[in-house]
Amino acid sequence: MIGYLVRRLLLGAVQVLLVVVGVFLLTEALPGDAAVTIAGDKPDPAVIAGLRAELGLDRPMWQRFAEWLGSALQGDLGTSLVGPRPVAEMIGTAAGPTLLLAGLALALLVPLSTGLGVLAARHEGSRLDRLVTSTTLGLYAAPEFAMAILLVAVFAVQLGWFPPTAIGGSLSSNPALLALPILVLLLRPICSLSRLVRAGMIDAQRSPFVQHARRLGLSPTRIRFAHALPNAAAPAVQQLARTADWLIGGVIVVEAIFVIPGLGTSLLEAVSARDLPVVQGLALVFATTTVLVNLGADLAARALSPTSEVGR
């Protein structure tokens, strides 16, 4: 177990490094740099050259990357190119709303999708099952930005039940602001997860060990939740890990539409401004999160279903 964990963590570190190098190269490959974007519609060549020297952008690419990596390994993510603030501080501020959104979405996602999946599986083939499966399939097919626009138009602008954006309010003190963003974030993952749980439950209920449990006279509820569900949950947990990755992407869309100044908004702004240290810092955060979440999911899947080959 310890050996496995160490292997996975080392592999994770390599993955994060690859992502950071890749992001650096891709951002470098974009036309222009921070000096050009700061100069904007007044591209005086002397000013641009001055800015480049001031920002250290006139040095070779590998040298800048090596320096960034060196400081990053010592915990220093550097300073933004377009403003005076340290990258770590910017990420820290922006992480709040994103963590709140993603955390709340995940916390609601697990019980809701499990409940829906179990419910549909229990009534397999019934009208309820058909309703759940067709609705989840339909909603799964709808892209979240389209869903967001529709929900805002109906529930915020027309009916006035929820605020249309998160402008000027604090997410933690005004839960109404969170309603639509969380709904948009949840819709698709609920659909995919509940369908997985349903399929897993149906498989498990037909499996020999559940039939054996039935013959032993255990109560159906106990069989369902103590025996079938843990087995059915293993693939769903894997999907949950992917969902956590996906939430990071979904959050970018939701933040843009609902005007939430989180990590996604920061990433968009930093890429537009060619603010490399900020882009790099965010890539580091995103990559590390993804690696850790997947590792966590693999460990959870092992614990739930020790016989499966998950994560070896």
Partner: protein, 514 residues
């Protein structure tokens, strides 16, 4: 790449939100009710696009609209631009030049900073010294570098005497330039900014929200509002939704589509601020093919200005007459309005030996309408046998890319006095000379205009410069578009004639909530 995707994506989102909104909103007839008589009190919430988590409140770093709005709430300049881009005195009570236009005596108003200290001549000199610091790249630096600061001095606390490096009759334009704000001497930290403006700083979260409170001692009369909140909303659809949902009272920069959708609904007020953006083409006159004057003139005659205003600006603007700044001071109004003349254009193309020629035409999504204009003009050019090959460039680096890399580019300019347009773009020494217009005799006209105290003579010299541009210049300014602002129906006191970025634009000290 990601960035382009985002742009397209959000563009799509905007269009979607608008059309669904309009379907659901229905169509109540009649315009918005007025906001009644001026009334004190309340908090106005205004939304602008922002600069993200890197934003600062240093007024000398001002360049985005939101930064200008925040800076003008907290700070003042010595002068600012009126609706015709002529300089209006602000912290300066008056200015008096010497006969040679190289020494300017400025008398300051009796104004105080928010901490109670008076605004003194020393603060003015220190502010300008900070802006023009060697090695720096602050926005107002190039305009203010005409001042010989070591030779300038404070005569007393309320009188500054500026020595200029050359005669400059329109020196007050430099005092009004973007970013030339006056800060208390010695300020380096802007986390709790102290200015002399109509509002006092309360709180600021970069990329998110800014709050300021009424300054009861403002020299120009205290604001009606108790508080001003400026929030960041980069997505236009979100600004519109927030306005419709009553989360904000003022939304800067709406799209033409939103304007059309909500104008007649009565839910919000749509204001179209005229003469805010000028749209055109930039041809490089120093290299083939546009070094041929006939080909430039062919472009003048093949352009269908009405069609461009109708399609690209969706009617929200006026046609141009190929020279910059219609409606501004010194604009040459007497020149005959040009209109499309395909026969003339065809014969000019023939005389230039350019029939069937293919010319690269650069454009991008860097600003609204650039791309649409390029496509429409290339259609118009095809009718006279010119093949303009539209190339879509990267929006983040566009202005820099076209500076030397293109012969023909879609162009746009915000509001500025003719003086700035000429000095930044049309002189041999200009740093953003996008048409490569370098004519010593043209430079002479400009220098002469800045060396005369006689206004009529200056107007005549400006006319001659504009005639040259009109007949053989590299710019085709085909139109001017409105700047579109949305406001809640209860907001009164917004100047509907002020071009974006002038004194009266986003001037929240004169606004009230009914």
């Amino acid at each position: 790449m990601f960035n382009l995707d985002r742009r397209r994506f959000l563009g799509l989102a905007a269009a979607g939100a608008v059309s669904t909104g309009s379907l659901l909103a229905g169509c109540a007839p009649g315009g918005a009710p007025g906001a009644g008589a001026p009334k004190p009190g309340g908090r106005l919430r205004a939304a602008f696009s922002g600069g993200g988590a890197a934003e600062v409140l240093d007024p000398h770093e001002t360049s985005l609209y939101i930064e200008i709005a925040r800076s003008k709430a907290l700070f003042d300049k010595l002068a600012d631009y009126g609706n015709d881009m002529s300089p209006q005195p602000r912290l300066a009570e008056r200015w008096e030049p010497s006969a040679d236009l190289r020494t300017w005596r400025i008398t300051l108003r009796q104004a105080t900073f928010h901490d109670g200290r008076p605004v003194r001549a020393a603060d003015v000199l220190a502010s300008y010294a900070r802006i023009t610091e060697p090695g720096g790249s602050r926005r107002a630096k190039s305009s203010l570098s005409v001042i010989d600061l070591p030779a300038s001095r404070a005569i007393d606390d309320r009188t500054v005497e500026f020595q200029l490096k050359r005669p400059y009759a329109e020196f007050p334009n430099a005092l009004a330039t973007l970013g030339a704000y006056i800060i208390p001497e010695g300020t380096e930290d802007f986390s709790q900014p102290v200015g002399s403006g109509p509002f006092k700083f309360v709180s600021f979260e970069p990329g998110k929200s800014f709050l300021a409170a009424r300054n009861p001692d403002y020299f120009d009369g205290p604001p009606l509002l108790d508080e001003l909140q400026i929030v960041v909303t980069n997505d236009e659809a979100a600004r519109v939704n927030a306005l419709l949902g009553g989360q904000i009272d003022y939304a800067n920069d709406l799209t033409l589509t939103s304007a059309r959708t909500y104008e007649s609904g009565g839910q919000i007020r749509v204001l179209r601020l005229p003469r805010s953006n000028f749209h055109g083409l930039a041809m490089k006159v120093d290299r083939p093919p546009f070094d041929r004057i006939e080909l430039r003139q062919a472009m003048f005659h093949l352009t269908n200005r009405e069609e461009l205003v109708r399609s690209v600006l969706q009617g929200s603007g006026q046609i141009g007459n190929d020279i910059y700044g219609r409606g501004y001071r010194y604009y040459a109004d007497h020149l005959p309005q040009r209109s499309q003349d395909l026969d003339k254009a065809r014969s000019l193309v023939r005389r230039a030996g350019a029939e069937g020629m293919t010319i690269d035409f650069d454009t991008s999504d860097a600003s609204t309408g650039l791309k649409e204009a390029a496509l429409a003009i290339s259609d118009q050019a095809r009718q006279v046998g010119l093949n303009l090959n539209v190339r879509l460039g990267n929006k983040d680096t566009y202005w820099s890319d076209i500076a030397d890399g293109s012969v023909l580019a879609s162009y746009r300019s915000g509001a500025m006095p003719l003086d700035s347009h000429v000095s930044q773009r049309l002189l041999t020494s200009s740093t953003t000379n996008n048409t490569a217009w370098q004519r010593p005799e043209f430079d002479e006209l400009y220098n002469a205009a800045q060396s005369t105290t006689d206004e009529n003579r200056r107007a005549e010299l400006y006319t001659r410069m504009q005639e040259q541009q009109f007949n053989e210049g590299g710019f085709v300014w085909w139109g001017a578009s409105d700047w579109i602002v949305g406001a809640a129906t209860k907001v009164g006191g917004i100047d509907e004639e002020a071009p974006a970025n002038t004194l009266e634009w986003a001037r929240f000290d004169k606004v009230w909530l009914a």
